[in-house]
């Protein structure tokens, strides 16, 4: 019960903090819109309405990853800069349970971007969306957000010793958009990309959202997305524990 309270209150608090930040709040919404707009123009110029709807759904999920990749990779650096890292590490709560709400709050900010992109597509480009499985669509969105947040959490822990982790997170933005099939069907990419995309939850998240909206069988993708999210959380918790122990042992929490 105490852990659930920590996770929920941590998520709410971080969400409020991020919504006050121009970088996390405004840019997370606006930045993916530039790419979505470009993609809409490209698909519209290609004169294929079906691909425009396909791109619209993919583009809407781009913001969830954008809001997470750069910010989550530099979560620990941010706490370090704020001078709160030691306090968090010294708190009796599990360190991982403090980090998880931060990265999930980041991916939740992407929900703004998702809604904004769908509305932008509807009102500016006339992309009409009729949800075939509305309930599954509504379920697929939070599952994707949570899984992307879990990936961000794993990234944040993996980058603990990387001072400029934001640059790595930034550089991962385009590859994930591409490899996970946000805007381009995976069949168009080289075969070797397939196995990489299968270990990335956004691949299944965006597919579940698409199939829920356009018709298909989203349940398997939804389960795969959720399963990968749980795996990221598990791996991240183990890694966070290991990293924190190492940092305490070498007194390198602030300097690492």
């Amino acid at each position: 019960m105490r852990t659930a309270r920590l996770l929920v209150l941590g998520w709410l608090l971080q969400l409020k903090v991020m919504m006050r930040s121009a970088f996390n709040g405004v840019l997370s919404v606006v930045w993916p819109m530039f790419f979505a707009t470009t993609a809409f123009f490209m698909y519209r110029a290609g004169r294929d309405e079906a691909t425009l709807v396909y791109a619209s759904l993919g583009a809407s999920v781009m913001g969830i990853w954008s809001a997470t990749s750069t910010s989550a990779s530099s979560v620990l650096q941010r706490e370090r800069r704020h001078g709160t890292l030691e306090l968090l590490a010294a708190a009796p709560a599990n360190f991982a349970y403090i980090l998880i709400p931060i990265s999930v709050a980041m991916s939740t900010i992407g929900l703004y971007s998702m809604i904004a992109t769908l509305l932008w597509g509807r009102f500016v480009f006339g992309i009409e969306l009729h949800l075939v499985h509305p309930l599954l669509f509504v379920l697929a969105v939070p599952v994707t957000i949570a899984s992307v947040g879990a990936l961000g959490f794993l990234l944040s822990v993996a980058c603990v010793r990387y001072r400029s982790a934001w640059a790595l997170g930034n550089a991962l933005e385009y590859p994930v958009w591409l490899i996970c099939g946000f805007l381009v069907p995976l069949a168009l990419l080289p075969n070797w990309v397939g196995p990489i995309s299968w270990v990335l939850a956004p691949t299944f998240g965006v597919r579940a959202i698409r199939e829920a909206a356009l018709g298909g069988t989203p349940v398997a993708d939804l389960l795969a997305c959720a399963g990968l999210g749980v795996a990221y959380f598990g791996a991240g918790i183990l890694l966070a524990d290991h990293v924190l122990r190492l940092a305490r042992k070498s007194a390198a929490l602030q300097l690492s």
């Binding site: 121009a22 970088f23 405004v26 840019l27 606006v30 930045w31 819109m33 530039f34 790419f35 707009t37 470009t38 993609a39 123009f41 490209m42 698909y43 519209r44 110029a45 290609g46 294929d48 691909t51 791109a55 990387y162 001072r163 400029s164 640059a167 790595l168 930034n170 550089a171 933005e173 385009y174 590859p175 958009w177 591409l178 805007l183 381009v184 069907p185 168009l188 990419l189």
Partner: protein, 262 residues
């Protein structure tokens, strides 16, 4: 070396080395080398999916657009970082020529932008198997350099905004995205609405990208000289606007005592 020339060259170089914190390999490699390649690949594959243009179109467009990244960010970061280092007040109370001060800072940035654009072009061409005539290499290098000059002009405006707005990373990102959509980077200009095409004609990049695409298709430098001159002219106009805005906002900040608090 006369005083303003020294401020221009030595001051510019020192500022770049000291304040543009992206020079560490940990930032430089992912930001300037990895990201442009993936942006090129992303749009080349969208282009293939949409059956719109050849890979060459996207390699040229996105490589040149990436010249703007250091030009926009460095100009804003270098002024913003003066504030973080608490040296902005000292800098702006010095009697140094403002023209030498700010234009000197832009010189290393122009070279940085041109190198990023050239790298993106070469890497993108190799990965996507895009062939460009060897005779086009030197003119393309010139066009990339001119485009970097022109983007740095806009970067000066962005730097001036940094005197007023604390979160310069936000304005830099927004300008970068604006150029992506407006300048015919991935969408042929005639496919954009008329008002966007009109705006694109006064933005950096648009004419540079058009010139580079023609050169890659076999045109000579003479054929695109008008486009190159226009690109340079647009850059100069933006630089003049940027320097004027810097001067104006500096005076305003002194008057309102908001240099550090803005």
């Amino acid at each position: 070396m006369t005083y303003p020339v020294r401020v221009f060259f030595v001051g510019g170089l020192l500022s770049y080395r000291a304040l543009f914190t992206w020079l560490t390999p940990w930032i430089l490699i992912p930001t300037f080398l990895v990201a442009p390649i993936f942006q090129i690949l992303l749009f080349a594959y969208i282009g293939r999916s949409a059956n719109l243009q050849s890979d060459e179109f996207y390699v040229v467009g996105n490589a040149l657009q990436y010249t703007s990244l250091p030009c926009l960010f460095a100009m804003a970061n270098m002024l913003g970082d003066e504030r973080w280092s608490q040296t902005l007040g000292i800098l702006l109370s010095s009697p140094a020529s403002r023209l030498a001060l700010f234009l000197g800072r832009s010189l290393p940035v122009i070279l940085n932008g041109a190198l990023v654009g050239a790298f993106g072009f070469v890497a993108g061409s190799l990965i996507l198997d895009v062939h460009v005539p060897a005779s086009a290499f030197a003119p393309l290098a010139l066009v990339i350099l001119v485009t970097a000059v022109s983007c740095t002009g806009l970067g000066l405006v962005n730097g001036a905004i940094g005197l007023r707005v604390r979160e310069s990373a936000v304005s830099s990102n927004i300008l970068f995205g604006f150029l992506l959509v407006m300048c015919g980077v991935n969408v042929p200009l005639d496919e954009l609405p008329g008002w966007m095409e009109a705006i694109s004609s006064v933005l950096p990049l648009t004419h540079g990208i058009e010139a580079a695409r023609e050169l890659a298709d076999g045109a000579s430098l003479g054929d695109v000289s008008g486009l190159v001159a226009t690109e340079l002219g647009i850059g100069v106009v933006w630089a003049v606007i940027g320097c004027s805005l810097l001067r104006f906002l500096e005076v305003e900040a002194r008057r309102r005592a908001t240099l550090e608090s803005s």
